[in-house]
Amino acid sequence: MKKLILLLLILAASFYKADAQKKPVAVYYLIDTASIPAADRIFYIRTNYNTYEYILNCSCLMPWLSDATFIRSVNNKGTILTQAQVDKLKLLTLRELIDIIVKYSVVRKKENIFYFIENREGRLLKYKVDLREPESEYDRERLLIVIPPK
């Protein structure tokens, strides 16, 4: 009986640990395309029916080297943040963001939750966004969401 309890305890501990490792980390990125010169912008933002899309034209996602699309619902109102709250957050650089999504496309394990912070008429709004699964050029043509590079 003692042995059984010990075994159960070990099992429970290991499950607990595995569960703790799985918990995704929240990451924040401040989208501020207005301050970047037009030629150097690689984020394209638009609405497509009822989804709001942030398209990162990095050609970086495996296995098709496709662009990354972050989506959220148009109805998502977001939460208002103050400047002090944003200063406290650890914001990602664009490179770190690309590293994370490339790693996700290779390993296919959701380790992060993405939050984008937007500046809308002086108000800072936080939105939870999802990374769309990488899609091939064929899929993009089929869905008619091709963005021809200039």
């Binding site: 401040l30 501020d32 301050s35 970047i36 010169p37 037009a38 030629a39 150097d40 912008r41 690689i42 034209n57 990095c58 050609s59 970086c60 495996m62 080297l65 914001l91 990602l92 650089t93 664009l94 490179r95 690309i98 590293d99 490339v102 790693k103 290779v106 390993v107 590079p149 200039k150």
Partner: protein
């Protein structure tokens, strides 16, 4: 036969030109994509896009002793400048097909004037990233 070979050589020659103005100073630090530095006899521009095969970054280089051409601001306005999206797209195409279709020219602002250099895109290498 000679004509045939000549045609093949002609077909493989780069046909397209891409001019890009490297101006990282205007972009906020968080959003900068370029790492510029000198390594030995080469200047390198590392574009951290992970867009070549094996998750490589696109690295453009030119030799230190290569003299660039001076471009006046008036000429720059007439020039057909590309954007970063296009640059990444072309680099990706090279990573897949390994065909030199494009001549890359990078323009940098040094003091008052602009200097144009022809740069070469390095081939992607297989590396050991433990993902």
């Amino acid at each position: 036969m000679t004509l045939f070979l000549y045609n093949i050589a002609r077909a493989q020659r780069p046909t397209d030109t891409l001019n890009y103005l490297v101006d990282t100073a205007k972009t906020p630090v968080r959003d900068r994509m370029f790492d510029i530095g000198r390594e030995g006899d080469y200047y390198g521009y590392q574009l951290a896009c992970k867009c070549l095969t094996w998750q490589n970054d696109a690295v453009f280089t030119y030799r230190v002793d290569q003299k660039g051409t001076v471009v006046s601001p008036n000429d720059l306005k007439k020039m057909n400048l590309s954007n970063l999206t296009r640059l990444i797209y072309v680099a990706k195409e090279y990573g897949i097909y390994r065909r030199d279709k494009t001549v890359f020219n990078f323009i940098e602002k040094i003091g008052d004037q602009y200097i144009k250099h022809r740069v070469y895109l390095l081939e992607p290498r297989k590396n050991e990233i433990a993902y």
